[in-house]
């Protein structure tokens, strides 16, 4: 049983993974490659298949089709206890009948490695819980249990560490703190982390690469900044934050810019930031990239200008104000203005114009639902 495990992380590759449950397909033709040592996040709403994917990698579910390659070796047929993969479970799943130390030592004992207790103590020291080694898990707080679960998995130095919504049960403040710790530990140990979450902030904050999952497939994969700045589908645009969307027929397109007509107004984006340049397309912009003006801005081919419209709602969120601006014939737009001391002073009911730079537009490959279309 004493299999030799590599101390460093290994790459994980999923090839054409499909998982059917009676009556529905949870994961469909999933392809994914995670380089060794990377912090990778699978992000998606509940029911998108992200947890099923994680369970297939852990061996707790078997794929209906496809290959799971870890360091180039197909592990799809291996039992969970034969895989050099460890999991931090959603509700920690600490063994209630064992002390914290015995929990952490469990994997080492199973593999019959030497010094299980001193290894467990070291792992507990890494998460700063060595003083609680003799306690029972149920005597610890949620944050402490989470750290024990992490130590119990990390002590085995798996090629791949799976994290199943590990921070979901913690309160906001503790969650932020654990995010920082988790990231620091990952950098320190250099293992490959696969983190499953529905919290987009968490995924963007920690992961090197994020894959957004929806209905069993990956919508888009990339660095968090890229996903946020340049979403390719309406689902990704919506899941990673708010956006203003406009759907219209393409009226002109060249190598530089592409424009649509939306309710008589021209809305322009860069062609290279557009997935589609023919027919009816959707163009969006993030609310923090839009500005409002009390006087009409001077027309500029580098700007999209809409308005005037009335401010119908102002929401103070601390770092920024969120404005709802109802532009007749266009609809309601959202604008975020940073509270840096020089934002225009406006009140409810004020008439304002909205603008944004054309290079901040993004063109989607599909059409969002629930947005009025102009044909």
């Amino acid at each position: 049983m004493a299999t030799e495990f590599i101390a460093r992380g290994q790459d994980l590759e999923l090839k054409g993974i499909r998982k059917e449950f009676p009556g529905f397909v949870a994961v469909d033709n999933l392809n994914l490659k995670i380089p060794a040592g990377e912090f990778f996040a699978l992000l998606g709403p509940s029911g998108c298949g992200k947890t099923t994917t994680l369970r297939m990698i852990a061996g707790l579910e078997s794929p209906s089709k496809g290959e799971i390659l870890l360091g180039g070796k197909d592990i799809a047929g291996m039992k969970p206890h034969e895989r050099p993969v460890n999991t931090v479970f959603q509700n920690y799943a600490l063994f209630p009948h064992m002390s914290v130390l015995e929990n952490v030592a469990f994997g080492i004992r199973q593999r019959k490695l030497t010094d299980p207790l001193s290894k467990a103590e070291k792992a507990l020291a890494m998460v700063e819980l060595e003083h609680l080694a003799q306690r029972r898990p149920q005597q610890l707080s949620g944050g402490q249990q989470q750290r024990v679960a992490l130590a119990r998995a990390l002590v085995n130095r798996p090629s791949l560490l799976l994290l199943d919504e590990p921070l979901g049960a913690l309160d906001l403040k503790l969650r932020r703190q654990m995010q920082i710790e988790l990231k620091a530990i990952q950098m320190e140990v250099g293992l490959t982390f696969l983190h499953v979450t529905h919290d987009q902030e968490e995924a963007m904050d920690m992961a090197d690469t994020v894959a957004v999952m929806n209905q069993g497939h990956i919508e888009q994969l990339g660095a968090p900044e890229v996903l946020y700045d340049r979403p390719k589908t309406a689902f990704v645009a919506k899941f990673l934050g708010q956006s203003n969307m406009f759907i219209g027929k393409v009226t002109e397109t060249n190598s530089e810019t592409t424009s649509i007509e939306y309710k008589g107004k021209k809305i322009t984006g860069l062609t290279k930031r557009s997935e589609k340049v023919t027919g009816v397309i959707a163009i969006g912009v993030r609310p923090e990239k839009t500005y409002f003006h009390e006087t009409q801005p001077i027309a500029d081919p580098g700007l999209n200008i809409l308005g005037p419209g009335e401010i119908t709602d102002i929401r103070f969120t601390g770092v920024s104000n969120q404005y709802q601006i109802d532009i007749p014939g266009i609809g309601v737009m959202t604008v975020f203005a940073q509270n840096v001391g020089r934002s225009p002073v406006v009140e409810l009911g004020a008439q304002v114009y909205v603008s944004w730079k054309i290079e901040h537009s993004f063109g989607l490959s599909d059409l969002p639902s629930g947005v009025e279309e102009d044909k």
Binding site: H81, V85, F89, A93, F95, F106, A153
Partner: protein
């Protein structure tokens, strides 16, 4: 105020009377185990320890007691093992006829013992088996099994499957997961199921009467003896069993109270 004080005394009085009613037969049995009786153990003839010291002198008492112990221990062991396995299967695995199995397991709980005893007796006759200890044990396994399944099932239902998955994830094979995680966590449920099975088997009369032939168990012995006067040695055995049972209950309570205090003090 009168109404208030009436309520204040009414409930304690009622509780006291209830306990008195429950305890009188037990108290009577215990007290009369010390009776220096001659023929029948109905009239108090003075205190003696002879019944307790020479309990096996009375013909049949100790043999019947031993048979009851043997039957109860064997039946408990078999039905606890089988019942635990059935309970885990019923909670953890989806299979055809699962709900039907669930329902069928409840049937013995609802069936009158006379019917079950007579039915079994007919079966054994059919098979041509001689009635004796073996048939009694088989019968007891049959009727205690449902109780074990129901008790252990409740415990399995509270067991988070993620704990077993965590075990598998941490390099434990399915068998190791069972012994290191599932079994220790189910143990309290399994023990209470075993105690229940033992208690049910030990004092069963009806099913035993139908299926034991000439073998005497303790309840059977007492029943037969009642016709000509129960010997005080029977009181001794009854009191002894009662004391052991109470001692076990107290020990368990004390242990869990100490455990709780230990957890709190940390």
């Amino acid at each position: 105020m009168t109404r208030f004080s009436l309520g204040k005394y009414l409930l304690p009085t009622y509780v006291f009377l209830t306990f008195l009613f429950l305890m009188i037969p037990i108290g009577y049995t215990f007290v009369y185990s010390f009776n220096d009786s001659i023929k029948s153990n109905i009239i108090w003839r003075g205190f003696t320890l002879d019944n307790w010291l020479n309990v096996c002198d009375q013909a049949g008492v100790c043999g019947a007691f031993g048979n009851s112990l043997l039957v109860a221990i064997t039946a408990t062991a078999v039905s606890t093992v089988l019942g635990t396995m059935i309970a885990i299967a019923l909670v953890r695995y989806r299979f055809k006829f699962r709900s039907a199995t669930n329902l069928l397991l409840f049937l013995p709980l609802a069936t009158p013992e006379v019917v079950m005893g007579a039915g079994l007796a007919a079966q054994f006759l059919d098979f041509g088996w001689t009635k004796g200890l073996t048939t009694v044990i088989i019968a007891h396994v049959m009727f205690t099994l449902s109780f074990v399944v129901v008790t252990v099932k409740a415990r399995v239902a509270t067991l988070d499957p993620a704990l077993e998955e965590a075990g598998r994830d941490l390099y434990a094979s399915p068998i190791q997961v069972f012994w290191k995680i599932t079994f220790p966590l189910l143990l309290p449920g399994i023990l209470s199921a075993a105690m229940l099975a033992f208690a049910l088997s030990f004092d069963d009369f009806i099913i035993t009467q139908f299926n034991s032939g000439s073998v005497d168990t303790f309840p059977k012995f007492v029943y037969t003896a009642a016709a000509r006067g129960i010997p005080p040695e029977a009181n001794v055995v009854g009191s002894f069993v009662f004391i052991v049972a109470i001692a076990i209950v107290i020990a368990v309570q004390v242990r869990s109270a100490m455990k709780k205090r230990k957890l709190l003090s940390k």
